[in-house]
């Protein structure tokens, strides 16, 4: 789920920070630049782990600050395909589920990756928000046995793919906000789904036998 990535970057250090020890000042600048940002193909930057080297300090003509070349490690959030992650339910619509990790919200579980056979129970239409898209997904795992995804429990999902859509030149109106990193998740496997679905493995095995 988390990785270290080593990065080299040349950046100017603004004069107000020059009274601080250089490592501290550089750490602050790097945090400002990278924290909570997605680097395409490499994931979401969580934190600056450490600084390996700082070199340079030249003032280029026309610049008002010294530039340093820094080599540092970043803590990146980059789940691998097939990884199992525990998340919370953010919303549940006709198109599937949206899950959240707290620090990362762009996790989608499309309908065809829910456990089969499944069914969608619409919420009564709210007169104020006139969209009937909200509701609950139900897994009909046995004759007459229904398990619903209600958002009370944490949900385990398997990472199906991670994509980094290119930044759109023009954002179409009324579309959802642009997400630089998208995770597609799947619940269609033993042991996945809300934690309460698999209370104790032994009970389920006994039932099956």
């Amino acid at each position: 789920m988390f990785y270290l990535s080593r990065v080299e970057h040349t950046l100017p250090l603004p004069p107000p920070l020059l009274n601080l020890p250089i490592r501290e000042a550089m750490h602050m600048e790097l945090e400002k630049l990278f924290l909570d940002k997605v680097i395409a193909k490499f994931g979401l930057c969580i934190s600056v782990y450490d600084i390996r080297s700082i070199e340079g300090g030249y003032i280029f003509p026309g610049d008002g600050a010294p530039s340093f070349t820094v080599v540092f490690n970043l803590v990146m959030f980059r789940p691998f395909v097939g990884e199992i992650i525990t998340a919370k339910l953010l919303s549940s619509t006709k198109d599937g589920l949206r899950l959240s990790l707290g620090f990362f919200d762009d996790i989608y579980v499309p309908v065809h990756m829910l456990p089969i056979p499944h069914d969608f129970v619409e919420e009564p239409i709210n007169s104020y928000e006139n969209d009937s898209k909200k509701g609950k997904w139900v897994w009909k795992y046995d004759e007459g046995q229904e398990l619903e995804i209600d958002g009370i429990d944490e949900i385990k999902f398997r990472v199906q793919s991670v994509s980094y859509p290119p930044i759109p030149v023009e954002q179409p109106k009324e579309s959802k906000p642009f997400a630089p990193m998208l995770i597609t998740g799947s619940l269609d496997h033993d042991g996945l789904g809300p934690v309460s679905w698999w209370p104790d493995a032994e009970d389920i095995e006994e039932e099956q036998e």
């Binding site: 924290l35 680097i39 193909k41 934190s47 042991g191």
Partner: protein
């Protein structure tokens, strides 16, 4: 300005515990004020996630012990990482984590792995303990602040309200001030 150059995209995987440990070392805690520590807001979101994950009660000794003992099962690195991060509670959880699980491991071995997890990795503490005793000092501090605010409001509105036990001290103080003024 030249763009950042990625020297090594994958300089090593970190377990959830290591990331949590990194934040703790920098002073992140459950302390509600969250100003003193040098931890950014976005980092706190990650910290909050990790504190509520099985990683919160693990320690370096636990993990080293587990790594030593899990060697004989010949799991892939990514699988061991997942086991550490999710702390599976039953064989069903392992089905999802381990690739081609049924072909590679018979049921007894899976049960053994689960037992090993249970033995070496401590279970996450039971939740529902918002009133932690060690944080008592800070909690009372915030309560006093709340008390101040309530009394101020009451002075402004000049309303007679039922007064809570915690804020009675402050209200006495304020009451005296009102007499003198």
């Amino acid at each position: 300005m030249p763009a950042a150059v990625l020297l090594q995209a994958n300089a090593g995987a970190l377990t959830n515990f290591e990331v949590l440990d990194f934040f703790r070392a920098r002073g992140a805690s459950k302390d509600p004020t969250r100003v003193i520590a040098k931890v950014a807001q976005s980092e706190y979101k990650v910290y909050d996630y990790l504190v509520n994950s099985p990683a919160c009660s693990q320690s370096r000794q636990n993990i080293n012990e587990f790594l030593e003992k899990v060697k004989k099962y010949d799991l892939a690195k990514a699988e061991i990482l997942s086991v550490l991060n999710t702390r599976p509670a039953g064989p069903v959880d392992l089905f999802a984590i381990i690739e081609d699980c049924e072909a590679r491991f018979p049921d007894e071995v899976l049960q053994e792995i689960i037992e090993l997890v249970k033995k070496t990795l401590p279970p996450p503490p039971v939740e529902m303990d918002p009133e932690e005793i060690p944080d008592g000092n800070e909690e009372t501090a915030t309560l006093e602040h709340k008390g101040d605010k309530i009394t101020e409001d009451q002075n402004e509105d000049e309303e007679e309200m039922d007064q809570g036990d915690e804020i009675s001290e402050d209200q006495n103080d304020d009451g005296e001030q009102m007499d003198t003024s």
